[in-house]
C-alpha cells in the first residue's frame, strides 16, 4: 500500500470508495504475532505465538479471559487489545449482574463491532489497531468469531490472524472439515500444529506460545506451561506431516529470522524455561 492524498483522515473516502485509515489499521493486525482459533461443537481453542523481545523481558499477554465462558486472543496493537478486553469484561459482568446469566458471545461480538465502527466514523478518533479472535459459549454451542478494526465481524470454524498466519490458514483449510466433531485433545493438537506452521521451521516450545481452551462444562482458562509442553511432545511423537519435520531429539538451531539476535542459542531439545516466565 502506498501513501496517497486520501489517507490522512479516517473520515475521508478515496475516489475508489475506500477508507485507507481503516485498511492501514488492518495492516497493523497483520504485523502482530500470530493468533489462531479453532472450534468444535463443544470446545473452542485459542493459541498464540508469544515471543519476548529479549531474554530479559517478559512475554506480551495476548490471551484474555473475559468471563468463564468467553475468552479472546489478540493480534496487533496489544494496548488497544487490552482496552477492548477490559470493555468485554465489563460488559460480561454487568450482564451477569442484571440477568444472573452469562452474556451470549454473539451479542458481545456485535457490541465490540459497533464500538469499532464508531472509530471509523469520527474525525477525532482512530480505528483500533487490533484483531480479536473471540471464543465463547452460548445456548447454541461453541463459537469462534473474528472482530476486525473495520467494525466487521465473522463467525469461523477456525481462523488465524497476524504475521505468517497464511501458513496456519493453509493447514487449517486442509483439516477444518473434521473440527466440529473433534475431541478436545484433537482440537488442541490441531491448534498446535497450525501454530507450528507460523513458526516456519523454528522449534515450537511451550515458552514461546500460549494456549487457552473453553468448553461445555469447562471454564475459559489458559493452559499452564507443563500441559502445553506435554501436548507439544506428543505432537512430535505422532509426526503428522506438516511442511517442516522435526526430529525429536535433534537440536535445531533456529534459522536466522526476523527475530532479534537475542533469541538465538536455545538449549538443546528440552522444555525451555524462558527468562522471567511470568
Amino acid at each position: 500500500m502506498f501513501r496517497n492524498q486520501y489517507d490522512t483522515d479516517v473520515t475521508t473516502w478515496s475516489p475508489a470508495g475506500r477508507l485507507f485509515q481503516v485498511e492501514y489499521a488492518m495492516e497493523a493486525v497483520k504485523q502482530g504475532s500470530a493468533a489462531i482459533g479453532l472450534r468444535s461443537k463443544t470446545h473452542v481453542v485459542l493459541a498464540c505465538v508469544n515471543k519476548a523481545n529479549s531474554e530479559l523481558s517478559s512475554h506480551q499477554k495476548k490471551i484474555f479471559k473475559a468471563d468463564d465462558h468467553i475468552g479472546v486472543a489478540i493480534a496487533g496493537l496489544t494496548a488497544d487489545g487490552r482496552v477492548l478486553s477490559r470493555y468485554m469484561r465489563s460488559e460480561c459482568i454487568n450482564y451477569s449482574y442484571t440477568y444472573e446469566s452469562p452474556l451470549p458471545v454473539g451479542r458481545l461480538v456485535v457490541q465490540l463491532a459497533d464500538k469499532a465502527q464508531v472509530c471509523t466514523q469520527r474525525s477525532w478518533k482512530r480505528p483500533y489497531g487490533v484483531g480479536l479472535l473471540v471464543a465463547g459459549l452460548d445456548e447454541s454451542g461453541a463459537h469462534l468469531y473474528y472482530n476486525c478494526p473495520s467494525g466487521n465481524y465473522f463467525e469461523y470454524q477456525s481462523f488465524a490472524i497476524g504475521s505468517r498466519s497464511q501458513a496456519a490458514k493453509t493447514y487449517l483449510e486442509r483439516k477444518f472439515a473434521n473440527f466440529m466433531s473433534s475431541s478436545r485433545e484433537d482440537l488442541l493438537k490441531d491448534a498446535l500444529f497450525a501454530l507450528r506452521e507460523t513458526l516456519q521451521g523454528e522449534k515450537l516450545t511451550s515458552s514461546a506460545c500460549t494456549v487457552a481452551v473453553v468448553g461445555v462444562g469447562e471454564a475459559f482458562h489458559i493452559l499452564d506451561n507443563q500441559t502445553v509442553q506435554t501436548l507439544i511432545d506428543s505432537l512430535e511423537i505422532a509426526e503428522e506431516g506438516p511442511v517442516n519435520e522435526e526430529g525429536p531429539a535433534a537440536d535445531q538451531g533456529p534459522p536466522a529470522d526476523l527475530d532479534p539476535p537475542a533469541d538465538l542459542g536455545h538449549p538443546p531439545a528440552e522444555p525451555a524455561v524462558a527468562p522471567m516466565d511470568i
Binding site: 440477568y99 444472573e100 451479542r107 456485535v110 445456548e139
Partner: protein, 246 residues
C-alpha cells in the same frame, strides 16, 4: 409563563413536601394475593380480578396475570398503575431482546433478575414500585418460579404467594404440594387456596383468573367464580356461649 408559575408554587411548599410529591408514599388502586405453583408441565398461577380503591372493591375485571416474552408469566399484587409501568419496562426489554434476532432469548431466570434489579434500585431511591411480583416460566424444559417484593427481596421456590397468600395459602401448599402435579390437581390446589383467601381476605373478589405457562407457551383461562358456603353450623348463632356478648 408556566415555568414561573411552578417555581412560585414550589416556593410555598416546604422542601419536605416537594420531595414527597416526587416519590411514592402509598398505593391507590391495589390488587391482592397472587399464588404460583410448579406443576408437571410448567407453572400455574392464580389471582383474582379485583382492583381495590382503599376499602372499596372498585374494579372487578383487572387482569393481574400477564405473559412476558415467550417463556415467562408475571403476576402482581399491589399498586396496579405500577404493575402497568413494569409491563412497559418488560415490553421494552423483550423488544430489544427480540431485535437481536440471534437465537438467544431471555428466559424466566433472566427476567426475574432484571425485575429484582429494577425493584431494588427504586427502593434505594425511596421511590418504590409498590408491587409484589410472581415470575414463573419454562425454558428448555427447566421450570422456574420466583418472587420479588417492592423492596427487592427475591427468591425462588416450588410455590410462592404474595400478601395474604403468604399467610393463608402457603401453609396449605406446604402440606399438599408435591412434584409433578397434574394440571387438574394443580388447579384444584390453587382453588382450595383461593377459596380460603376469598373467605378471609377483605380485598378478595369472587372472580378469579388462572393462567399457565409451559414449554409450548402461555395460556389464560376465562375468569370464573368459586362456590362459597355460608351456612357452617359453627357460625350459626355465633355469640351463643360468649359471656356478655349479644
Amino acid at each position: 409563563m408556566n415555568l414561573i408559575d411552578s417555581t412560585q408554587a414550589k416556593n410555598t411548599l416546604l422542601s419536605s413536601e416537594i420531595a414527597a410529591s416526587e416519590r411514592t408514599l402509598y398505593p391507590y388502586v391495589t390488587g391482592t394475593s397472587v399464588i404460583g405453583i410448579k406443576y408437571k408441565d410448567g407453572i400455574l398461577m392464580a389471582a383474582d380480578m379485583g382492583g381495590s380503591y382503599g376499602s372499596t372493591l372498585r374494579y372487578k375485571s383487572v387482569e393481574r396475570l400477564k405473559p412476558v416474552g415467550k417463556h415467562s408469566l408475571l403476576g402482581a399484587s399491589g399498586e396496579i398503575s405500577d404493575f402497568q409501568e413494569i409491563l412497559r419496562y418488560l415490553d421494552e426489554l423483550i423488544l430489544y431482546d427480540n431485535m437481536w434476532d440471534d437465537g438467544n432469548s431471555l428466559g424466566p431466570k433472566e427476567v426475574h433478575n432484571y425485575l429484582t434489579r429494577v425493584m431494588y434500585n427504586r427502593r434505594n431511591k425511596f421511590n418504590p414500585l409498590w408491587n409484589s411480583l410472581v415470575l414463573g416460566g419454562v425454558k428448555n424444559g427447566q421450570k422456574y418460579l420466583g418472587t420479588v417484593s417492592m423492596i427487592g427481596v427475591h427468591f425462588e421456590d416450588n410455590h410462592v404467594a404474595t400478601g395474604f397468600g403468604n399467610h393463608l395459602a402457603r401453609p396449605i401448599l406446604r402440606d399438599e404440594w408435591h412434584e409433578n402435579l397434574s394440571f387438574e390437581d394443580g388447579v384444584k390446589l390453587l382453588e382450595k387456596c383461593m377459596l380460603v383467601l376469598l373467605y378471609r381476605d377483605r380485598s378478595a373478589v369472587n372472580k378469579l383468573q388462572i393462567a399457565k405457562i409451559t414449554e409450548e407457551g402461555f395460556t389464560s383461562y376465562p375468569p370464573y367464580a368459586l362456590k362459597t358456603f355460608w351456612n357452617f353450623s359453627a357460625f350459626q348463632n355465633p355469640t351463643v356461649g360468649a359471656e356478655g356478648s349479644w
